[in-house]
């Protein structure tokens, strides 16, 4: 009796839910069921494939040397990115916090957040122009004639540097918020104890944001397989493929590059990456919750 009256009272809320819920299930869970294609062979017009093929497609790509090259490239690129772009925003936030001239601080913040809203393709096209052989500003200043983008040796640095340019300022917001939460008495006490500004940063600010740093680090580790696919796809050239072919672009090429279009094989490679990635994220999150009592989800 009580249940019925609850429904009678709240039915408009359920009505509200219907359309978004159907949309959500169709476009987020539909593809998950569609991933069954990895075990079935693809026929045009059939989302779920025609007949069962078991793990055949997995065997094909796991034997492919190019897959393992992509796997290695993904890990190398991710780790380099982590080592450089994890501490970057922390240092930036701490230094921003030291700016006493408020309007200047505001100006630096405003400018540094903006690249986050620029399209990756904009960043890459500007970058490519600056790095053009011969006439690009970088080559001109150095007096060199290097094709940076076409060279596999430079690829990972271009990736890491553009990430730094695009996201350092924005990620720093999280650390700045953590710094704001530090009790100002701690700084006063440190000053009385004779700590100079550098020592205050080291012994008050850094410990104050340590929990935030831990959470961010663990979450970054969870995201190891998730690189900026769009960016790598834009930077990808046959000439730099030995460094720039990552798991996502490997999958993309299996499906869409002329001559292959093997959807089942590509779905299998994509599913394999997605499963490893999910395990990584969930375990990283669990570690974060255990170690620091905090997690994003």
């Amino acid at each position: 009796m009580k249940k019925r009256s609850a429904f009678r009272r709240y039915w408009p809320l359920y009505v509200m839910l219907v359309i978004p819920l159907v949309h959500f299930l169709l476009f987020k869970y539909g593809p998950m069921f569609g991933a069954i294609l990895a075990f079935r062979n693809y026929k045009p017009g059939m989302t779920f494939g025609a007949e069962w093929r078991g793990f055949r497609y997995f065997e094909i790509f796991l034997k492919d040397a190019q897959y393992w090259r992509a796997f290695r490239n993904t890990i190398v690129l991710s780790l380099l990115n982590l080592v450089i772009n994890f501490p970057g925003p922390i240092i930036f936030a701490i230094l921003l916090n030291e700016l006493r001239f408020k309007r200047f601080k505001k100006l630096v913040q405003t400018i540094s957040y903006m690249p986050r809203f620029m399209a990756t393709v904009v960043v890459i096209s500007i970058m490519a122009t600056m790095l053009m052989p011969h006439s690009g500003v970088v080559n001109k200043l150095m007096g060199t004639n290097i094709d940076y983008i076409g060279n596999p040796g430079y690829f990972k640095w271009i990736y890491v540097f553009t990430d730094m340019w695009q996201y350092t300022g924005f990620t720093a917001i999280i650390y700045l918020a953590a710094i704001t939460g530090i009790n100002t008495d701690l700084y006063e006490a440190a000053k009385i104890d004779g700590a100079n500004r550098f020592k205050q940063m080291l012994h008050v600010t850094v410990p104050g944001i340590l929990p935030t740093m831990m959470v961010m680090l663990i979450l970054n580790i969870g995201q190891l397989l998730r690189l900026g696919f769009e960016k790598v796809l834009l930077l990808y050239r046959p000439s730099n493929s030995s460094a720039s072919d990552i798991l996502d672009t490997f999958t993309y090429r299996l499906a869409f590059e002329a001559g292959s279009t093997n959807y089942s094989l590509a779905a299998a490679a994509g599913l394999f990456t997605a499963v490893i990635s999910t395990v990584l994220v969930i375990s990283a999150n669990a570690v974060s919750r255990k170690a620091t009592g905090e997690s994003i989800y």
């Binding site: 609850a6 709240y10 408009p12 809320l13 509200m16 839910l17 359309i19 978004p20 959500f24 299930l25 476009f27 987020k28 869970y29 539909g30 593809p31 998950m32 569609g34 991933a35 294609l37 017009g45 989302t47 230094l95 006493r100 405003t110 690249p115 809203f117 620029m118 399209a119 393709v121 904009v122 096209s125 500007i126 122009t129 600056m130 011969h134 006439s135 500003v137 200043l141 983008i149 340019w165 300022g169 917001i173 918020a177 100079n196 500004r197 550098f198 796809l233 050239r237 046959p238 000439s239 999958t251 499906a255 959807y263 779905a267 994509g270 997605a274 499963v275 999910t278 994003i296 989800y297």
Partner: protein
């Protein structure tokens, strides 16, 4: 309060110098595009442009009018961004509001489904085949509809709506308002900061997209970012073939103009929206 020791002063000098360098690093790429786009064709070809415009002119911006498909693409981008953001916000409101009611049965299950879908997705290919097989290929629905619900933004919205005091809604209910009217007349106006934040993220997503347009749309339907993508990819192909030909260099001015014009709306609107997203980000840090 102010520390006036020698060390602190030296530190300050370096700090402000460092920040000045940072500002230059952030601003210079755009300024470089400006310089290239306003320099004379000959100056660019003779490789005389380093930092500042040489033989200043605005011909490149006038030539944009002749750039193949540029206006069509710009119009497409504006349409996708407006309609896409509008549809997305409506879906998010309708989804988030019931989910913000802790007494609602089934809410927990749905939230768990939302969170799981943030960890795991079917991947590019199943997504692609789904969108094609429901008949969205070469239709603008392929861009506007499938990406309307973003789970991160949804969680931000749910958390924000949960922070709205119950009493306000109870009072409205006593006045005889139903849930739909409460949502439209009370909750939505009170959620303005969250809506602004999410709207900004969503609009930026639509404005910046080329990948989905490339997968699902035909040439006339493509957005302006697709032109930029073609510039990047074609320059690469030309570069591989003949080491960046003279023609490529001559087109530098108009390409730079295209790049700048494609980001102008973001640069212009950004300072006004900035205060919202900083607020929104702190809202989002509340656990879901």
């Amino acid at each position: 309060m102010v520390d006036k020791s020698m060390g602190s002063r030296i530190f300050n000098i370096f700090l402000y110098l460092f920040m000045a360098v940072i500002i230059v690093i952030f601003v210079f790429p755009f300024f470089y595009m400006f310089s290239l786009s306003t320099s004379g064709m000959k100056a660019i070809m003779n490789n005389r442009v380093t930092f500042f415009p040489v033989d200043f002119n605005i011909d490149a911006y006038l030539r944009i009018f002749e750039y193949p498909g540029f206006f069509q693409a710009y119009r497409n981008t504006i349409i996708y961004t407006t309609l896409g953001t509008f549809f997305s916000l409506i879906m998010m409101m309708l989804f988030a509001y019931p989910l913000s009611k802790s007494f609602l049965k089934g809410r927990g299950v749905i939230l768990k489904l939302v969170i799981f879908s943030m960890f795991f997705s079917g991947g590019l290919i199943p997504n692609y085949l789904l969108i094609r097989n429901i008949g969205f290929a070469n239709k603008i629905w392929a861009i506007l509809i499938p990406f309307a619900i973003n789970q991160f933004n949804l969680i931000i919205m749910v958390n924000f709506m949960r922070s709205i005091p119950e009493d306000i809604e109870e009072a409205a209910m006593i006045d005889g308002l139903g849930y739909f009217r409460i949502l439209g007349w009370i909750v939505v106006p009170l959620s303005k900061p969250a809506i602004a934040t999410i709207g900004l993220y969503t609009a930026v997503f639509f404005w910046n997209d080329w990948f989905n347009a490339m997968l699902y749309l035909n040439t006339e339907q493509r957005p302006v970012m697709m032109i930029l993508r073609n510039i990047v990819v074609n320059a690469a192909n030309a570069g591989e073939a003949q080491g960046y030909g003279e023609r490529g260099i001559a087109e530098m001015a108009s390409k730079s103009a295209v790049i700048l014009v494609s980001v102008i709306p973001i640069i212009v609107l950004y300072p006004f929206l900035q205060r919202f997203f900083v607020k929104g980000l702190t809202v989002g840090s509340i656990k879901g």
